[in-house]
């Protein structure tokens, strides 16, 4: 061990230099092609970046598994939520007739849509699984308006890179990249199993992102924003999840 040869030293030095240069080049390419997640810093950043980049190279256009009607769960599990605010209770008492979804940010025509405006757009229904990061799951039929149709109707600008979506409940917001925003299965969901979407499952309006874990499917959506950067929002980590210690990309 004590007599390290000159050749070994040079080889090791060259390998280390090549390694550093390789990582720098890879990181610059990854940034250009949108393969770096907003929570790419810190000790978990390298793993998170590898995961997101690999998923984006492999899964940009793939469809979440859909199931036959017979597999719809008879006992779907509505995860616990905080008690609703007074504002939500007023909407509930009103049967959500005044519920609005505002669409703003990098769109040509910002809009405020009622639930019936949404229902006037083409609907899509799909039988997909809700997968919680804790480990449990259930299958339901989800009926709603594809996010892509709302984005096209409001003229989303080509420079938009993320769609941020907010719950009426405080500090509950998430964001997805355009691969998920333009994905045909990403639904502004207002129906479940042939009925209205129950409040326990996110009614009147829930963003369903079936290729990601349940916590990306935020309940009680009342605002979406198109943006080219997540830096100025909250703590700049992309969404509420990383601020609570959870990964921004939840496809795994």
């Amino acid at each position: 061990m004590n007599n390290i040869s000159r050749r070994k030293l040079i080889t090791t030095g060259l390998a280390a230099t090549a390694g550093v240069a390789g990582v720098a080049a890879a990181s610059s390419i990854a940034r250009r092609y949108g393969l770096v997640p907003p929570d790419c810093r810190g000790i978990y950043g390298p793993g998170e970046t590898l995961t997101y980049a690999a998923q984006r190279l492999l899964t940009t256009n793939s469809l979440a598994r859909e199931f036959p009607r017979g597999m719809i769960s008879k006992t779907p599990f509505a995860n616990a939520i905080d008690p609703p605010t007074d504002e939500f209770k007023r909407h509930q008492a009103n049967n959500f007739s005044d519920w609005r979804l505002s669409v703003d940010g990098m769109v040509a025509h910002p809009a405020s849509l009622s639930l019936s405006d949404l229902k006037a757009l083409p609907l899509r229904s799909q039988i997909t699984e809700v997968v919680c990061e804790e480990g449990w799951s259930y299958i339901a039929e989800w009926i709603g308006t594809p996010l892509i149709d709302v984005l096209h109707a409001t003229g989303v600008l080509p420079q938009a890179k993320y769609i941020v979506y907010y719950s009426i409940e405080k500090d509950w917001w998430e964001s997805i990249d355009m691969a998920d925003a333009f994905h045909p299965q990403t639904l502004l969901t207002w129906g479940m199993n042939d009925g209205d979407l129950p409040v326990g499952f996110g009614g009147p309006l829930r963003m369903r992102v079936p290729r990601q874990l349940g916590y990306k499917s935020v309940k009680f959506i009342n605002r979406i924003t198109a943006t080219d950067s997540l830096k100025g929002l909250g703590k700049g980590l992309g969404s509420a999840a990383p601020e609570a210690g959870y990964a921004w990309f939840a496809g795994i």
Binding site: Y44, S62, R65, E133, W136, S137, R211, A247, I252
Partner: protein, 266 residues
């Protein structure tokens, strides 16, 4: 289970394999630098995966079979521990703190380290003959008699002979090959099958396992098998001589001579 090179357990002399890049005159290490490095990186990554995996299980210590399962469906089995979520019926009157955020971050980061390290080890070992020479059982070892013979030796607590401190015996080879080529690939597969996004690209990954909850349950059992291997492995290292075996896996230098010298000093 422990340890390696040069003479097989049945005593047949093998060609000493001088690892490249070692200074002449120095004794050939029992484990090559690549084996030592990948062994310890894998160990660290595995411990991280194990700890974070347990933390994630604590958020829902119920297991199911098939595609779906939740607190409202009957479990296949339940681990009788408290949970870190109030929505799980555990029978305990309290809820543990939520550790899933950092556990999930670290679980996947450690998984990357393990997979990349495993790829480097696997490819290099296939090319340089480590698997063929040191791990694949020799023809005379591939008999029930050889297995039974070595098991009997373990049961009688016969200390490893000189030949065995230079080469893996048939039980070690079988155990290591099982871990490298069956358990690790299975734990990676069952883990990947839990990614809804990966499943969208490769639905067979989860469908072949019988559904998402089956994949989760299998991931748990394969991880358990790896933990059992780790425990037996460490027990065998202790039985064979903890200091010499650890020294061999850390420095590569644990010849009879250097160990004797070490024992003299202490």
């Amino acid at each position: 289970m422990c340890y390696s090179p040069r003479v097989s357990a049945t005593g047949s002399l093998r060609n000493s394999e001088a690892p490249r890049g070692e200074a002449p005159g120095e004794e050939a290490p029992r484990h090559t630098a690549l084996v030592r490095l990948t062994h310890w990186i894998t160990f660290i990554a595995f411990v991280a995966l194990l700890v974070t995996g347990i933390e994630i299980v604590i958020s829902h210590p119920r297991f199911y079979w098939g595609e779906v399962g939740n607190s409202l469906t009957p479990p296949l089995f339940t681990i009788p521990i408290p949970a870190s979520r109030s929505t799980v019926p555990t029978g305990y009157g309290y809820v543990l703190p939520d550790q899933n955020g950092w556990s999930r971050y670290l679980h996947f980061e450690a998984a990357w380290v393990l997979v990349l390290t495993g790829l480097i080890y696997g490819i290099a070992s296939l090319i340089n003959g480590h698997i063929r020479k040191n791990l694949w059982p020799t023809p005379q070892d591939r008999t029930p008699r050889a297995f039974i013979g070595r098991i009997t030796k373990y049961l009688r607590r016969v200390p490893p002979d000189e030949a065995e401190s230079h080469a893996y015996n048939v039980l070690q080879r079988t155990a290591y090959l099982t871990v490298i080529f069956i358990l690790f690939p299975l734990v990676i597969w069952t883990g990947l099958a839990l990614s809804p996004s990966f499943d969208s690209a490769v639905p067979a990954a989860v469908n072949l396992l019988g559904g998402r909850q089956s994949a989760r349950t299998l991931h748990f059992f394969v991880s358990g098998s790896l933990l059992i291997f780790l425990i037996v492995h460490v027990a065998m290292v202790v039985q064979a001589g903890f200091r010499s075996r650890m020294r061999a896996m850390i420095t590569g230098q644990a010849s009879a001579r250097s160990v004797a010298a070490e024992e003299e000093r202490t």
